[in-house]
């Protein structure tokens, strides 16, 4: 069973911490400055090392079991390394806790994360270990001679996924799992409404079918399902929705250097369209209504867009469900890529966890962390974890393995490991890796992402409350969201590790103090020089 409270709360945490971090990590980073990590020549097996691993488990106990098994297996290979697992149910909470722990030098050794978050961590000095040298270390690098397990080589990591972990020219993470978003469709209802699913789903098609599904009888029952409730189109992550719509239209979101382009005319046009369908209640969001899967499975939704990593919750026969069995409706589920504006040029987001390593005083401890991170990319871990949801492994070594190929071939054999919807979701990404994209990463990109979703959430709420959505509203909304996420306080040219927040001109008192300080040193030096000259004269 899931709870909104936790995830929504993290949204607010994110707003706060991202903004707070702009100050903490830039203005005060000196207090927790680390030395640059230098890989030791040899891993010291005579000492014991204890490392902490913060991971996300998607509130799925199979994930927990896989992490625990991976740790157990790794510790057998490296008896002098103990890995302590701490589980989270959302990325935002990990992000917040990392930032909280930076100031006390108690960051984890290894944590599951998103590149957006790493960009914020990088505003502290040497907090996150750059992995470039470790990748290629002959002994302990990827597939190195001294690594005690069958690790993938650098070439065996899917280049597109690896590239997502590169910030400011350096690799600061390894991809761990990848997913995208999918549209889970009640095909039975689409056809009952007189439509046929197109080869490529388009936004126009979804809006049209969704409005058609809103017809009700005199008693308020929806004709399509005979129920009082029908929200034909529900989107889980509205930040992704806005980002992908803009990308598909070639409109601005942000530049690679961190310039914010989100608040543009195309965004407004998209919001007007969303408002139109929000007003009729043909469209809603997770934050406003609930999990798309709950409505889909109850026959109260036709198009449910959620991560491929949520596939096990989707469909009549879904192995996981939050609703009681008596509410589940029989229908045919089809998994398709998210709707497109240009069917010939599909574009969808690439998402999923990556893993980064935090720097520590003891380089041996960092090396121990690196060995564990590599272990997470072994076939055993990659294949097992990917089978829990519609994730795909991040290495060709795993993807091309006989075991994984066998898994894919057995789609639909049962409603657990081989649950058809889950495998369709995984195949969707495997078939579309070249159509995926990620947004630019910079210090503040996490806030910008939240802002993109907030525009949709606010607009839909407003039209549901019969408020007027017009140009004045849009201008006000833009300003409100910019202010809420403090986007006007970001250094728009700052990127990654190099991006320091522009805190504005120095306060007057600071300028005076710095001048006084400089003056004092000038006096000291002048006095010393005079004394030296006198001494020389006296000596002469």
């Amino acid at each position: 069973m899931s709870s909104r409270g936790k995830s929504i709360k993290s949204c607010f945490l994110g707003v706060f911490f991202t903004a707070a971090s702009l100050f903490l990590l830039t203005a005060c980073h000196g207090s927790q400055e680390q030395n640059v990590f230098e890989p030791p020549e040899e891993f010291d097996t005579s000492e014991n090392y204890e490392i902490t691993f913060w991971a996300k488990n998607d509130t799925n106990k199979t994930h927990t079991a896989i992490y625990e098994q991976a740790i157990e297996d790794f510790q057998e290979l490296y008896p002098n390394i103990t890995v302590n697992l701490r589980l989270y149910t959302d990325y935002g909470k990990i992000y917040n806790d990392v930032i909280t722990n930076i100031s006390t030098n108690t960051t984890p050794n290894v944590c599951v994360t998103y590149p957006d978050h790493i960009a914020t961590y990088l505003t502290g000095s040497n907090l996150v270990v750059p992995l470039d040298d470790l990748f290629t270390d002959e002994q302990y690098g990827l597939g190195g001679s001294e690594v005690r397990f069958d690790a993938p080589s650098l070439e065996e990591i899917i280049p597109k996924f690896l590239e997502e972990c590169r910030i400011d020219g350096h690799y600061y993470a390894l991809p761990y799992m990848r997913s995208t978003e999918a549209c889970y469709i009640n095909k039975t209802y689409v056809e009952a409404l007189g439509y046929t699913l197109p080869e490529t789903l388009t936004w126009d098609f979804i809006w049209e079918v969704s409005e058609a599904a809103m017809a009700q009888d005199e008693e308020g029952n929806f004709l399509i399902n005979g129920q009082k409730v029908m929200i034909p189109f529900i989107y889980k992550s509205t930040d992704n929705m806005m980002i992908q719509m803009l990308k598909q239209l070639g409109a601005g979101y942000s530049t690679d250097s961190g310039e914010i382009l989100l608040f543009n005319d195309t965004t407004k046009e998209l919001l007007y369209t969303i408002a139109e369908h929000g007003a009729t209640r043909a469209f809603s969001t997770f934050k406003i209504s609930s999990y798309p899967a709950n409505f889909l499975n109850a026959g109260q939704c036709i198009f449910a867009i959620d991560s491929t990593a949520g596939a096990t919750w989707m469909g009549t026969d879904a192995p996981l469900s939050d609703i009681s069995e008596d509410k589940i409706v029989e229908f045919e589920t089809v998994v398709m890529p998210i709707p497109q504006f240009d069917a010939d040029n599909p574009q969808m987001i690439s998402q999923g966890p990556s893993v980064c390593i935090f720097n520590k005083e003891d380089s041996q401890e960092v090396l121990a962390s690196w060995l564990f991170v590599q272990y997470l990319l072994t076939n055993d871990v990659q294949i097992a974890y990917s089978q829990t949801e519609g994730y795909v492994p991040v290495t060709t070594k795993a993807q091309e393995s006989a075991e994984y190929q066998d898994y894919l071939a057995r789609s639909g054999e049962d409603n657990s490991t081989y649950y058809e919807v889950k495998l369709q979701a995984a195949k969707l990404l495997l078939d579309n890796v070249d159509n995926t994209f990620v947004t630019p990463v910079f210090n503040g990109s996490a806030s910008l992402r939240d802002a993109a979703g907030q525009l949709i959430e606010n607009t839909v709420k407003s039209v549901r409350r019969n408020q007027t959505v017009d140009e004045d509203y849009m201008e006000s909304l833009f300003q409100e969201v910019i202010s809420l996420y403090r986007l006007d306080q970001m250094d728009t040219q700052g990127t990654g590790s190099g991006g320091k927040t522009d805190l504005g001109p120095l306060p007057r008192t600071s300028v005076i103090l710095l001048c006084a300080l400089a003056g004092a040193w000038v006096c000291i030096l002048a006095y010393l020089m005079v004394q030296a000259v006198r001494k020389k004269r006296n000596a002469g």
Binding site: S3, G5, W521, I524
Partner: protein, 287 residues
């Protein structure tokens, strides 16, 4: 010379020290300014057209009594609130029964009056005002009626503290558990008597366990606890919500100590998530 050098160096370090202090103050000021901006935004967001000043709880008695004087104007009774459509603006007066969470000027609160209860989700609230929301405190709340997974709540709300106090007695709803009438008590402080603890799931060895960390056992100590209890052949899932009652509370410890077959009495709030999902605040052996 040494003395003079020492003096000058001391001055320099004193100035450096002063500079750091000043710098800290600047940071604090900057952060504070940012917070204020966000607060204002939140207020504007939550009540279109309302004065931002209305969003803060009354700070002094004069404000409080003034607020009480015009209490009747526009304030809904529970029956009117219950009859209101979703997404409409509502104003109610109720008494705080429990606080679930606060973060970044948002508070989630269970409130109740003699007629019914309200779940106030992420209501605009400063930390200072949150401290004032002790059990029984009367508040006037303006927000929007909403429903999330069956839970009817007030969102995007603002509030003010007004005069009055009331602490609800737990309403025994044990006999209503299987009835459609139960939802009429949604969000109220309720009790359940004489229910039997059932297996919540299995541990790694396949043994039945009386509770789970998180809904499927995927969590750890500190996460929500889920446990099953039965009455008259029907089994229900109850929760210790970790924001409402964290791992240091008696109820958290009591649930961790449950054994399958125990017969227990419970109190808590009648939360809803795709069906009844009470947030339990106390567990004792059945009387």
């Amino acid at each position: 010379m040494k003395k003079l050098s020492l003096l000058l160096v001391s001055c320099a370090f004193a100035l450096v020290g002063a500079g750091c202090t000043s710098s800290s103050s600047s940071s604090a000021e900057s952060t504070g300014a940012g917070t204020t901006a966000a607060d204002t935004t939140a207020a504007e967001d939550t009540t279109a057209g309302d004065d931002a000043e209305d969003t803060t709880a009354a700070d002094d008695e004069a404000d409080t009594s003034e607020a009480s004087d015009d209490a009747a104007e526009g304030v809904m009774s529970y029956a009117e609130y219950a009859a209101a459509d979703l997404d409409t603006e509502v104003t109610i007066e109720a008494y705080v029964q429990a606080k679930q969470s606060w973060w970044e000027d948002k508070a989630t609160v269970y409130a109740q009056d003699e007629d019914g209860a309200y779940f106030l989700y992420n209501m605009a609230c400063s930390q200072e005002d949150y401290e004032k929301l002790t059990q029984g405190t009367k508040i006037r709340v303006t927000g929007y009626k909403a429903e999330w997974s069956g839970e009817v709540e007030i969102i995007d709300a603002t509030f003010e503290i007004i005069e009055g106090s009331y602490i609800a007695e737990a309403k025994d709803v044990t006999d209503l558990l299987a009835s459609d009438e139960l939802i009429d008590y949604q969000n109220q402080f309720v009790s359940f008597k004489g229910m039997t603890v059932e297996a919540a799931g299995q541990d790694e060895e396949g043994n039945d366990v009386a509770f789970l960390y998180s809904w499927d056992g995927s969590g750890q100590d500190g996460d929500d606890l889920y446990f099953n209890v039965s009455k008259d052949g029907e089994t229900y899932t109850f929760t210790v919500e970790s924001y409402l009652c964290d791992s240091t509370t008696d109820v958290y410890a009591a649930v961790k100590a449950l054994e399958i077959g125990d017969v227990i009495d419970m109190e808590g709030f009648l939360y809803w998530y795709e069906g009844v999902n009470p947030h339990i605040t106390s567990v004792t052996a059945a009387e």
